[in-house]
């Protein structure tokens, strides 16, 4: 593949974007063929941060392997952990206490907001506006503080365990989450003023990076990338897990199919997440925060699958068990990998500046792609 692309035609130029490049947000390597500034072809070259997490998990017990999934898509660590914990619970038929479910969903949605905020800042930074990054981090900092207080860590929390959560929430948790919601609501308008309504930004995003609904499905994209093309694919709606079937929220779908729609989906999702947290935060029931489980978890023989909606799309956890204490095989269906596969289709015929903008709207996290 790479040999094929390096033999460019007359008048074409091959450029390496990455693995060290300011806009790839990690060690992604893109080989692009240019005609002037227009992109003719793009070939992602992966593997720079492959740590073989799936293979590693085969030697870890069912309590231990959850922590390593925080290192895949580190921006939605809680949701990854949640999906893994659900797979084990499904296999063991563990009933998760309601309090644990409430805590899990609140933390999932906080993670989603934090992830989208980082994306929002990085997206603006890709387009050359540096200030929004700092404004986004100001609100994100409050979330990481809440995480630190309750879970003990700021990024890779490892707070979900099979059967519930590791420790009970901190006494100040409810108060601080409410404070955050108040602060967030007062600042979300600034996001629109500074970036969404900006004419330069809109011109950079509108009618750029088109991905039709058919293509979105055939490339296997999920999450906000697919919903920006009008595909209804929110796992929280289509295959509700945890508490999501009881909650009132909308699946954000934009039909513009361009970069701006994908942008709007993420911005609106932040508001929906706040709505979900507001429904839950006042009614956290009393009770156990973790179900009683055996000290050593042995999954029955068989295959188990669970899925969750991370900030980037659908995360699938597939476990094959031979009945022992460690899995025989684990496979993660990570959203970033499928979303990246559509990039070549989306950037053809656009300029280098657009490549950066389109890559920004895909919200790539490279460790999630390479695992």
């Amino acid at each position: 593949m790479i040999e094929e692309i390096t033999t460019a035609k007359e008048g074409e130029m091959v450029i390496n974007i990455g693995p060290q490049h300011p806009s790839t947000h990690g060690v992604l390597h893109l080989l692009i063929t240019l005609d002037g500034e227009t992109i003719k072809k793009l070939e992602p070259n992966l593997g720079y941060i492959h740590r073989s997490i799936e293979k590693m998990c085969e030697s870890l017990s069912y309590r231990q392997f959850i922590y390593s999934t925080s290192r895949m898509d580190y921006l939605s660590a809680h949701i990854n952990n949640h999906a893994c914990a659900m797979a084990v619970e499904k296999a063991m038929e563990i009933e998760v206490p309601e309090r644990a479910e409430y805590i899990r969903v609140i933390l999932d949605e906080l993670t989603r907001i934090a992830s989208h905020q980082l994306w929002w800042g990085a997206m603006a930074m890709d387009l050359g506006a540096l200030s929004p990054f700092f404004y986004a981090f100001r609100e994100r900092e409050v979330i990481t503080d809440i995480m630190e207080e309750t879970c003990g860590a700021r990024l890779t929390m490892n707070y979900m365990v099979p059967g519930g959560v590791m420790t009970d929430i901190h006494p100040n948790f409810v108060k601080h989450v409410k404070d955050f919601i108040v602060q967030f609501k007062s600042k979300i308008d600034e996001y629109d003023t500074l970036v969404t309504d900006n004419i330069i930004f809109q011109n950079r995003m509108k009618n750029v990076g088109l991905l039709s609904a058919e293509d979105a499905i055939s490339y296997g994209t999920s999450g906000p990338t697919a919903r920006g093309s009008g595909v209804s694919c929110d796992i929280r709606k289509t295959h509700p897990y945890s508490l999501y079937s009881k909650l009132q929220f909308e699946e954000v779908i934009e039909t513009g199919c361009d970069s701006f729609s994908r942008y709007l989906v993420r911005v609106k999702e932040m508001k929906q997440s706040v709505k979900i947290i507001e429904q839950l935060i006042d009614n956290i029931p009393e009770g156990d925060f973790v179900a009683k489980t055996k000290a050593v978890i042995k999954l029955p023989k068989g295959e188990f699958y669970s899925r969750a909606e991370t900030a980037r799309g659908e995360l699938g956890v597939y476990i094959v068990s031979e009945g022992g204490t460690t899995p025989y095989r684990i496979k993660f269906r990570s959203p970033g990998f499928s979303n990246l596969s559509a990039l070549n289709h989306m950037v053809k015929g656009y300029k280098i500046g657009d490549l950066v903008a389109i890559m920004g709207t895909l919200d790539l996290v490279i460790p999630d792609i390479d695992r």
Partner: protein
Amino acid sequence: MLSFENISHGLHNWLSAIMSETPVVLIELTLVALAAITLFAALGLILVYMERKVAAVIQIRKGPNRVGPMGIFQTAADTLKLVMKENFMPDSVDKFLYKLAPFVVMITAMLILAPMPFAQGFQIWNINIGVFYVTAISSISVIGVLMAGWASNNKYSLLGAMRSGAQIVSYELSAGFAILSIVALTGSLNLNDIILSQQDGWWIFKGHIPVWIAFVIFMIAVTAETNRAPFDMAEAESELTGGFHTEYGGMRFALFFLAEYINIFIVCGIGATLFFGGWMPFHIGHWEGFNHVMDYIPSSIWFFGKTFFLIFVIMWFRWTFPRLRIDQLLNLEWKYLLPISLFNLLLITVIAIKGWHF
């Protein structure tokens, strides 16, 4: 009263008294060159520090605050580091052009300084086609940028240089028209005459809305001409990593960096001279008493105050807006700025002929 004018005149008289004409000219030339270089270095340090502080406060940060009180020696420390760095040259670059390019950019910036009136009667070269000279010389800097991009033998550099070429050539048009509108009102190309014509009020207040439009176009065009965000196509660090200076390091990079800030100072100085009266204090028509009070503030403070205000506006742009795409950049120039500035020039000419301005 102590002013730059008195100092320079006093020095000239003293030198003339003790020696013949030729050495006086030579000594004065040396002094001017030294003064210009010192001004360069000082401006570079101050403007980089100012940029970092403005950016920091806008981004709710503190900015440099470790080296010296409030971090004021941060830029001096950075310069020291850049000077001491190895002058690394990548293999397979065009060695002659690679070395020449930073100097072309730098010398161009230095040349434009010549007709700048810093204070009343304080100017390196009082030339009767000052405005024309500035516009002519400033277009040379693009050659340095193209040279750097081509000589680096790097695809990113080449793309950056080509973008820069397209951009500067286009935006010179509207910058030129905006400058012409003031020339039309004044009837002179001499920068000193332009300032003197604003004795009873600055053009921005005297010239009605068309001058405001000309001013806005001028600001947009010079932001583009100096390769500043949101028009920093030539560098565009998230797209082209470093643009035309990707392969430069150490002092050669510092020269590019310094030239960028000097260029900002110069275009803002020109803007202040044309639209805000340069060193001319704030005068209102025939309010003699008020004008007299304003005259007590030295003219150099007026000039630098106005210039730094315009520099701040340009920095403000940079830390607010996202970057345009290269084709949108050219669209903006050819579809919006050029027609508007042409029409605006027509309006201003009518105003100038009919004498409708104040």
